[in-house]
């Protein structure tokens, strides 16, 4: 069923769920999600219509300066809660597997602000994001990516002297014969598109908003 076939009551219910997520109102969002489950609306449609749209609007609010990192974190957490409620009635085999992105700040670099913003925005638009934190060695990125069957590795660096560790991850992937298994996205204050091209990264995010757009393109997500 598409959104055009929904009744006005169903549309109103999904709109209230979407609005509650955007407003970060957990109580209302959970109540609306429970109603969606009992109303018999296709949960996959509900996820697409309410959560995906909410994620888009939350991203726009960040872009316009109305929302900040805490609101992104809260909306991401809330979307997780709501998705779990809506997915209760979907058979395991039918559950859409979200693309998994592994993110971290590279070895010898402890800066986290940019990485946190990117991680949170990726999560808020529906990616499954695993944040490895800061000062993450190449071997850890690769081991985790293999273990979790990640689709993408996102590498942040704020220092000119830690940018080479972004290249190291790519070189290690090549030498281990794993380069084609993961997309690699890089970013950070001193990082440029030219550097990304030079070291063979698949993508470069100039900032958090750009990184999300690039990740969507690289992973074929609308």
């Amino acid at each position: 069923m598409g959104t055009e076939q929904m009744t006005s009551e169903e549309r109103t219910l999904l709109d209230s769920l979407k609005q509650a997520i955007i407003d970060l109102d957990e109580e209302k969002a959970v109540a609306a999600a429970d109603k969606v489950v009992t109303s018999g609306i296709d949960p996959k449609l509900a996820i697409r219509y309410a959560i995906a749209d909410a994620a888009l609007l939350v991203g726009e609010k960040f872009d316009s300066g109305e929302y900040f990192l805490p609101q992104l974190v809260m909306s991401g957490d809330l979307m997780d809660v709501i998705t779990k409620i809506l997915e209760k009635n979907i058979p395991q085999a039918d559950t859409e597997k979200k693309k998994l992105i592994l993110i971290g700040t590279v070895q010898a670099d402890v800066h986290s602000v940019g990485k946190n913003l990117v991680a949170t925005m990726l999560k808020s638009v529906g990616f499954n994001v695993v944040d490895l934190g800061v000062d993450v060695p190449s071997a850890t990125f690769i081991e985790k990516a293999k273990d979790l069957e990640a689709d993408m590795i996102a590498l942040s660096s704020l220092l000119t002297t830690t940018m080479p560790y972004q290249r190291e991850v790519i070189d290690d992937l090549v030498s281990m014969g794993l380069r084609d298994r993961f997309k690699v996205l890089i970013g950070g204050g001193p990082v440029t598109k030219a550097y990304a091209d030079k070291i063979g990264a698949d993508g470069y995010g100039r900032d958090a908003i750009d990184a999300v757009d690039v990740a969507k393109v690289l992973l074929g997500v609308q």
Partner: protein, 458 residues
């Protein structure tokens, strides 16, 4: 003041807190304090804060914030708790002046007053990457600016043709940075000028390896040991702070808050912006701080001007100058690159704020610097000229607000301009801008005089 050894011990014995929990506590606490102390934007737009009562409330909120949160040690994932008495004692006992440099190049860096009339202290550069071939020459050019009180180092990706990767190369490159700095200031005829080591990484060996009274970091020099956003510290930085406290070098910190981070919006950023330099002073003995509030969209070069950022910066610096001994600096960060009129207009706006809010002047450079593309001595001389003119004009907070409003008009409908590499717009041999840039400077200067800053020289 609480000793650094005591801080070190607390990083090992404090309460264990996962970083995600810390981040959550951070924004929940700051949010509740924003409400409790009524930190709100004024109904009508201002670039400079005029509300002294708000400044008082913001300061009290920041102290309560620091008392509630303490400082988070990233290395051990422990909370360094601080009592109110420890915080207030540190504030009381911090110096308001720092001696730096030696011989005839000795200078005194001072805390400024809000609407003060004394000339500001100046660090003209760098904090930006340069290639090895230009390094010494660039330093020498910045050191030739007569008002330079200290000069900061720069970062770079290669040393002697090799890419810098790993601790041994970082240590070597760090020492070369200091060699180039010393050589550059000597060539400028200012051998005693204080230089500040700009860490190319934050490992303890990089930070401490530059110590060298002959060719590296002297006791009369300084080091940048910045606290991370969200009140986070590292043991490597603390190790360096302990060493340099005994050695005698002064320390400084990047202590602004970033709107859009875990502090949330502008109101939360005001509280973090006041708390952070106090925390940096306690954690690392950073007495000189580049302070205030920035917006993540401006640091990314997405937007030239978000007017409430200037206002918030004003609140933070007025609070630090009224209630603490923090020696504040305005780090001028244009979203446009050197060689453009926008770079000068943005620099003018931020330099004009500085004397009004009680800040010294620090390293103007493009928000997205790349190698050899971030700053020239022109922007440094420009910030000095503009701030001097604001002082000579006798502008107060209201007058400065009107000037800034007129300057802001220059940004309407415009987008940040990329600008030029240093060699494209500046003649490093003759120490002067290339003619095209010189013409841009003349034009902007004329327009700024027409806006009422008639005492602008040149």
């Amino acid at each position: 003041m609480i000793t650094l050894l005591e801080i070190a011990e607390r990083t090992q014995t404090g309460e264990k807190v996962e970083d995600k929990k810390w981040d959550k506590m951070f924004y929940e606490t700051i949010n509740s304090l924003v409400r409790k102390y009524g930190i709100t934007r004024p109904p009508e737009h201002r670039f400079i804060n005029l509300d002294d009562d708000l400044v008082q409330r913001a300061y009290e909120a920041a102290i309560e914030f620091l008392e509630t949160m303490g400082i988070y040690c990233l290395t051990t994932r422990r909370r360094v708790a601080l009592t109110r008495e420890e915080i207030l004692t540190a504030i009381r006992e911090a110096p308001t002046e720092i001696l730096m440099g030696c011989g005839r190049d000795r200078r005194v860096w001072k805390q400024r007053k809000v609407e003060g009339r004394e000339r500001l202290n100046v660090c003209p550069g760098h904090h930006t990457p340069f290639t090895e071939d230009l390094a010494g020459l660039v330093v020498s050019n910045f050191a030739q600016i007569p008002r330079t009180d200290f000069i900061e180092g720069f970062n770079f990706t290669h040393v002697e043709g090799r890419e810098i990767i790993g601790a041994p190369m970082e240590v070597y490159a760090s020492r070369r940075q200091l060699n180039w700095m010393r050589e550059g200031v000597r060539k400028a005829g200012r051998p005693g000028l204080a230089v500040v080591y700009y860490p190319i990484n934050t490992r303890a060996e990089d930070l401490i390896g530059v110590m060298d009274p002959e060719h590296g970091l002297r006791r009369t020099d300084g080091i940048l040991l910045s606290l991370l956003p969200d009140l986070k510290m590292e043991q490597d930085m603390l190790s360096a702070a302990i060493v340099y406290e005994e050695y005698g070098s002064f320390k400084l910190s990047g202590s602004f808050a970033i709107i859009g981070g875990f502090c949330g919006g502008v109101e939360g950023a005001i509280i973090e912006g006041i708390a952070k330099p106090i925390a940096a002073m306690i954690a690392y003995r950073d007495y000189i701080n580049y302070t205030g509030v920035e917006h993540v969209h401006m640091l990314n070069g997405r937007q030239i001007l978000i007017p409430y950022v200037n206002w918030a910066r004003s609140v933070v610096n007025q609070a630090l100058n009224r209630f603490t001994h923090t020696i504040c600096m305005r780090w001028i960060i244009p979203t446009s690159g050197p060689g453009t009129d926008l770079c000068l207009w943005e620099g003018a706006m931020q330099a004009a704020e500085a004397p009004i809010n009680g800040m010294n002047l620090y390293a103007p450079r493009h928000c997205r610097t790349t190698v050899n593309h971030g700053q020239t001595p022109v922007e440094a001389e420009w910030m000095i000229d503009v701030s001097d003119a604001v002082i000579d004009e006798g502008l107060d907070r209201q007058g400065a607000n009107e000037l800034l409003t007129r300057i802001a008009g220059r940004f309407e409908g415009r987008k940040p301009a990329v600008g030029y590499d240093i060699g494209e717009c500046y003649d490093l041999v003759r120490h002067q801008p290339q003619e095209a840039y010189a013409e841009v400077i003349r034009q902007v200067k004329k327009e700024l005089r027409d806006m009422g800053l008639v005492k602008l020289v040149g």
